[in-house]
Amino acid sequence: MSDYLVQEIMVPLSEYATVPEGSTLFDAVLALEKAQEDFDRTKYKHRGVLILDKDKRVIGKLGQLDVLRALEPKDEDPGEIKELRQFGFSSKFVHKLRKQQRMKAKPLKDLCRKAAKLKVEAFMQAPSEGEFIEQEASLEVAVMQLVLGRHLSLLVTADKEIVGVLRLTDAFAAVFHTMKECEI
């Protein structure tokens, strides 16, 4: 067993960026900015925002990639481009088509203006089964869940309530620290 428990290295929920259900993407980005300013643990900044329902329960996570996804133009049917793969076209060919489609889209500022008004629910990821971990769990269990699920963070629970977030970067820092100790 390692010296670390999840609760020792997680970010408590109170220090994490959260927004209520029904917020816009712009609200979420502002909440993230504020949380980053307030959070002084390390140079590693928060990369996500949790979405809470009216009972303050976590119903989803909004990561940086989810926000960028909101900027993708919807003018053309991306389904048709996706279909090209099933018709046996190379990934290079499909990439070229996507690039062409992107170049034809509106400028980034216009896309940002439009995306800022969209609701977070449309882009958030609902937490999956393997994304929860007990606060009493060891670092080994956390590493296993992060690796197998390829997650960027885990939601930490105590008595089925979410009490914090274990970020990949915090788990990595703990592992790195352990490695250095072993070397000595």
Partner: protein, 473 residues
Amino acid sequence: MKELTKLLDRIIQRVNINLRELDYDITAFVKNLVPLSQMVKFYSFYGMTPHHALDFQFKHSSLAGTYFLGKCRTNNSMLYKSDIRGDELKHGGDVFRYQKFEIPVTRDEGIEIEDSFLIKTLVHNYSHDPESLEKFFIRDTVSTHYANIHGSPSDGSFLGPFATVDLTTMWDCVIGTFSYVQAGEISHLNVGPGTVWVRSADQFNFLYRHPINKLRRYIDFAAGSAPQGIIMDFVEQHQEAFKRVFDVVNIGPSVPVPSNASLDRYAVVKPKTRISENVLVAQRAYLENAWLGKGANAQENCYIINSRLEGFNVSAHGSKIIDADLNENIFVGFNSFLRGRPDSRLTIGKGSIIMPHTIIDIKKALRIPAGHLVWGLINNSADLKANSMALDDFCKIKGRLLQGNLSFEGCGAIFVDAFRERIHHILEANGAFFDGNLNEGHAQRNQKISFNTIQPYPDGELEGLYPTIIIRP
């Protein structure tokens, strides 16, 4: 008719089971598409010639209005006004070449249709599947009006109206209305309506998608309705003319036919039609004021009206040519619909290739230059520009081409060569190059043919079904 109802339900269920992964249910499309009372009205018939195998076995099947030639089996199946043409099947002793393999064919190939419902469908050519050399199987499959299953074994699949699967083995697939697929082998694929897809792995990939809203004017198929649209209306308008050729027992040609040409007695020929040497006209073809030059052919479900084909023209299965002038060596692909107007004709230059499932429907005269590749849906000269290219230019493509709704990847020269080679092979197989001694083909071999008819039970629980029938020399 109790057994027939049970048989239809059984076939629909079997296809649905195969298509469950695609979440596709054919019931509403197929259930009332052909009233079962129709299955009793029409006799089935088979051809006998000295050149083709005589080997039929029909078991627990309904065969209304369907034509058979060669070695064919049906079991637990319904066939409605279809053509099962086994005159290009492999023979025992042949060697089938596939990639680096030379595979001996151990016995004569046969078309085996099981647990399937084929409506006005053409089955032709031979199995191109190296894993199934002696069996051209069609299992758990439903195909609808004017579909073509051409050299394509099929299992667990559904073909919409005017769909074509060509030289492709198909497992658990849906081929949408007016779609054409030639891709070697496909599985668990739902090909949307109006897709034209020709792929040879590592060589080329041609994909065109008809603009769906425009296509619906020409052909549309919705659950619970019969196929609709301009092409369907066109075909329906000419159906009455076929009644006479199917009702009369002894019928002679209404126009002079050279001794080296073949005009099927189940084709409709209206006045002012000219049949030249080495011409092949298949059953269910319709000719009216049509000039067919030397070596030209009109395959099943072809319509050639007020048109002139100069010679060595391939009019593939289901193609329609109206008010048009075609120079020599022009290929018109499967189910293409080419319509000029009496005072605004469509002219196509020598050596052009009209891709399968192309629609050209014009109101102003249009001229396609010689040596062009043409595809898609064309109503005017601007559409032609977007949907055509000189074959010489197409041959220069190495890599990618995006033009309108066409996506092409690979080597253009190999693509064009493959088409040219195939067109030559079709002409050869049809006897277009017969010189009185060598290069005999269908046009010469299909001349001496007799037809026998068979009938279903007229009443009772087995009404519409045929008794088990085995026909051998």
